[in-house]
Every structure is written in C-alpha cells, then in structure tokens.
C-alpha cells in the first residue's frame, strides 16, 4: 500500500471530548490541551463571543446562570435529529454548533502546534446513522475540514493498538480476535474485530443506545436531588432542578463520578443550588461507590449481556477472544472492570492512551491512505433461495466502486410488491436481512417471459450509506431506502 502523504490527521469528535490525532510515519500523537483532551463544550455569550473547550467547560459553573449565555454540551448526540439550540434569541442548528468545535480544533492545531489541518479521517460511533454522518460532514466542512472517510471509533482503536504494538502489527495480530469495549460519555460501542489475511474485519458489533457517561451523571443527579429534598424537607415543586442549575449540577456529578473510579467515596457539593422563600440552600453530600453502583448496576449488566451477544453472534466463546481493549471514560468504572476481568482475565488491556487512541488510530488510517472495504459480501436473496452477489467482501467502500444497476423480474406479483431482500454473507452464513418493497403491477403475466421487470440501483455514498432505489417497469413511482449499518473492514495488506 502506497503511503500517500507526509502527515495524516484523524479527528475523534466525541460527545464529551474531542481530539486531533497526528501521524507522521512513526508513533502517532494527539494534540491535547495541556495533557488533557478538549471538552466538547461550546459557550456562546450574549455579545456574540464563542468559546470552546476547557475554558468553556470551566466557565460552566460561573456563567451558566448569567442571562444571555448559552452552553452546549454533547452536541454530537443531537446530530442528525433536526435539533437546534437557542443562542441569543436565534436558533442555531446542531451542525453549526458542532462546526465551532471543529474550528476550535483546527485553530488549536495551527496556533499551538503549527499544523495546518485541512483534511483527514473522522471517527464515528457504530450506531451513528446516515443523517448524523451527513451533519457531521457538514459541520466539518463548515469549519474548513474535508472528511476523506469515516471509520468506526472502536475500529480506529484497534488500528492504533495494532500498529503501536511491537512494531510488526499485522504479522503479530493475524488470526486474532479483538474485542473493543468503548464506553464513553455518550455511547457504548462494542466491536469484535478480527485480523484475517491482513484484513481487519469487524465481525460483530453492538451498542447500548445512549446509556453512557452523561446518562450516569443524570442518574447521580436524580439520586442526589432526591436525597437533598428528603434531608431539607422540601418538595419537588419548591426546589426543582431548572435548566441552568442542571448544567452546573451535572458538572459536579461528573466530577464525583470520576473520583469514584479511584476512591470509595466522593463529596458532591453544589453551592447556592436552590432558593426557596428567600433562603438559599447548598447541596452538600457524600456519594459512595456503592451508591453509584446501585444506580448504574443495571446498565453494567446490560452492557455485559451485549458483550455476550456480540461474541455469540460471531459464533465464538469468550475463550476465543485474544484481546480486550477497554477504552472510554465509563470503562474506568470499577464495576465494569470487574465484570470484564471476570470474563476475559488477563487478556484485558487497560489502554494507557484511552482518551486519544481513537484519534491516533484515525490519523494512522489517513497516513497510510487506508480506505474502508466491505467486511462482508453484499447480495440479494433470490426467489429460488440462492444468494446473488452484488459486491464481494473487500470491495472498496467508496462512491463509484460500490455502484450497480441490476434488472430483475418479479416472480409473484399478486400482492403488488416486489420484495428485494438484501443480505450480507460472511463465513458461509447469510445475515442482516433488509427488505425493500417495490411496487409492481398486480396484473398477472400471460406470456412466458412477461413477468414485470424491476430495475434496482445501488450505490454507496461518501458517508458510507448504502442507497437503494427500485422501480417496476409498469410503475411511475419506485421505492427507495437507505442503509447505514453495513460493516466495514480495513485492507492492511502491504502495510508495514
């Protein structure tokens, strides 16, 4: 594989933190704010100033209550959902807010590290849908950054780990199964990757919706608020948690949660939290690890059952998993580590650069010019039960390559619908069935070759979304669908 550039850039646009990774051929590095990643917090002031990153996060406590200030956290979770934020009386769309973070990262790279970051690879969660990918691309482009391709976050972590380990990555990891357990602020992504014939393949994946760090902070807030109401003899109506207090309160909950990763208990203090009948109340509590685990225990158990289902989907047992990478802030929760350790023992790796490994992996992918390829063959199940291959596994996943038009005929039009059944094939098994109903005429054929023809167009766009359009020959309107959950691999053959 030809190395196509001097410097590769990768951006991990995270729910909680965002990082730029850099690869110049040797070990990768991350552009940090001091020794920490940049918080994905945007602060708009009444006079139109925009502040992003640590300064914005640190200002949350002092300025969140000041009229005219707007703080936006976790904007990533709102991408693709058509949500907007009210800033100085004007609506601001999620891509507009997200672009402020991109602009900040690019500015920081230029000012502090003298790097002109114009294009590169951006990582996304496994369940990031087509609309969200599209808006993320818009946000990046708005800030002047061209997204060459998206790659899934856990996969970027595997790339970074493989290449940084012992220097001879592919040979060392050939034939191995690697589980990435990435539980960050916004999502839990579980990916089982395998290295087969020099190709890193995502064998199976799972997620847990938005039950992650931010959700845990809200759980702590609810517990703390409940305790406060009980101890102060106030009612929920007298001391509600309003929008401005909530941000500040959540910040304290998050700080307490981080301390509980190492300590058995933590203080949770929110000064001047409530004003009831002219009296000001502070929240002053002690939160123990047991308190926290009682809140998140159900989520941890669900996460573990997702781990089991991923391994089962790949037809493996926990013993077949050679390596487990634990990344993301929520993976530091002692209960999570305990559960994972019980299943996988010494094969668990607590990644040291857990905050930056995804960005660094993306930078490596960009540096090497690696492109995602289809992890599984994609085809159509036919009326006679056969698998009709459209794109073999390993097809480069980019527009122009993954593009096809096929003419079918409908063998049974009695319900007025041709059923296009798209399936993926891996290891001799067909999986992930997707059905598109295409309108056809109900008139029965009366000659031997007179069944209605159906034309199907398939194309994969630059946001890795498979777009399908099918139309019956007698119909004026066709049917279309978008599929955003195809699995991708990285072809690493020839990469040293």
């Amino acid at each position: 594989m030809a190395i196509n550039k001097q410097v590769g850039f990768g951006i991990d646009f995270g729910t909680t933190n965002s990082v730029v990774g850099v690869c110049e051929g040797g070990p990768t590095r991350a552009l940090l704010d001091g020794d920490k990643p940049n918080p994905s917090v945007v602060w708009y002031t009444a006079d139109g100033n925009v502040t992003v990153g640590r300064k914005a996060k640190n200002s949350l406590n002092g300025y969140a209550d000041v009229p005219g200030n707007t703080f936006v956290n976790s904007v990533k979770l709102t991408l693709g959902k058509g949500r907007s934020f009210r800033v100085a009386g004007q609506p601001k769309s999620a891509p507009e807010v997200a672009s402020e973070i991109f602009a900040f990262l690019l500015h920081q790279a230029k000012e502090r590290h003298s790097l002109d970051v114009k294009e590169g690879v951006v990582t996304i969660p496994v369940d990031f849908d087509g609309a969200a990918r599209h808006e993320l691309r818009l946000a990046a482009e708005r800030a002047g950054f061209y997204v060459k391709t998206f790659i899934h976050e856990p996969f970027a972590a595997v790339v970074a780990y493989c290449f940084s380990h012992q220097g001879t990555p592919i040979e060392d990891f050939e034939g191995r199964n690697i589980l990435v357990f990435d539980w960050g602020g916004g999502t839990l992504d579980i990916t089982l990757a395998a290295v087969r014939s020099g190709r890193m393949i995502q064998v199976a994946k799972a997620d847990l919706g938005h039950r992650a760090g931010d959700y845990f902070d809200e759980k702590i807030l609810r517990l703390s608020h409940h305790r406060f109401l009980e101890s102060s003899n106030l009612t929920l109506e007298e001391a509600p948690v309003g929008a401005t207090l909530k941000d500040r309160y959540l910040g304290r909950c998050e700080a307490a949660k981080l301390i509980l990763s190492d300590e058995r208990s933590s203080d949770l203090d929110v000064t001047s939290a409530f004003r009831v009948n002219g009296k000001i109340y502070d929240v002053t509590q002690e939160l123990t690890r047991e308190d926290f685990e009682s809140q998140v225990g159900i989520d941890v158990r669900d996460a573990m059952s997702k781990v089991d289902s991923v391994i089962e989907e790949a037809r493996l047992t926990p013993r077949d998993v050679d390596l487990v990478l634990l990344i993301g802030g929520s993976s530091r929760i002692p209960m999570v580590r305990r559960e994972i350790q019980e299943r996988f023992g010494s094969r668990v790796v607590y990644v040291k650069n857990a905050d930056t490994i995804i960005a660094e992996g993306a930078a490596r992918v960009d540096y090497l010019g690696m492109l995602p390829v289809l992890a599984r063959a994609l085809g159509v199940r036919l009326a006679d039960g056969a698998f009709y291959e459209l794109f073999p596994a390993g097809t480069v996943a980019k527009p122009g390559v993954c593009e096809k038009q096929i003419n079918f005929f409908c063998t049974d039009n009695r319900d007025g619908e041709a059923k296009l059944v798209l399936v993926e094939k891996y290891d001799g098994r067909e999986m992930n069935e997707r059905v598109l109903g295409i309108p056809v005429s109900r008139d029965l054929p009366h000659r031997y070759n007179d069944s209605e023809r159906v034309t199907v167009n398939l194309s994969l766009d630059e946001d890795l979304i498979l777009r399908v359009f099918g139309k019956g020959a007698t119909q004026e309107r066709g049917a279309r669908a978008e599929y955003h959950d195809l699995l991708f691999a990285l072809d690493t053959r020839g990469v040293r």
Binding site: V380, R381, L382, F409, C410, L444, V454
Partner: protein
C-alpha cells in the same frame, strides 16, 4: 426477541439463464395462470410440489397439503 419469520424474495435476475420466466413462478400462481398445468406447460418439480400444497383438499375442504388426517393412509 429474534423473529422466526422470513420474508421470501420474489425477484430473479433478468438474465438469459433465467428464461423463460414462468419457471420461477410459485407453483400455485403458475397453475393459476396456466390452468392447472394443462396443455404444453411443463412445471418444474418445485412448482409441482408447491401446487400440491395449495390445492384444495376434497376431504377437508382446506389447503391442508394432505395433513388433515382424513385422507386414507397409504400402505
């Protein structure tokens, strides 16, 4: 819970090897169009099998495919 149902495809590639099209019609539909396979229509074994499954049983009155139990046991 995973569904045990599967939607059956009704598409075949319109290629020379798949002609004439009637060979891929379900047996009951083919019998419907070609009047119970009368004349010079030659159904495939699959169509014959499917046709039998949908034929109305003269004993129970349903499309029982011979499972109604009223049919005399053949020894």
């Amino acid at each position: 819970m995973r569904s045990q149902l599967q939607i059956a495809s009704n598409l075949m590639p319109d290629e020379p090897g798949n002609r004439p099209h009637y060979r891929f019609l379900p047996g009951d539909l083919a019998a419907d169009i070609y009047r119970g396979f009368a004349g010079d229509f030659h159904p495939t074994p699959r169509q014959q099998r499917e046709h039998l499954q949908y034929i109305r049983c003269f004993l129970c009155g349903r499309t029982c495919a011979g499972t109604c139990g009223k049919y005399p046991e053949v020894r």
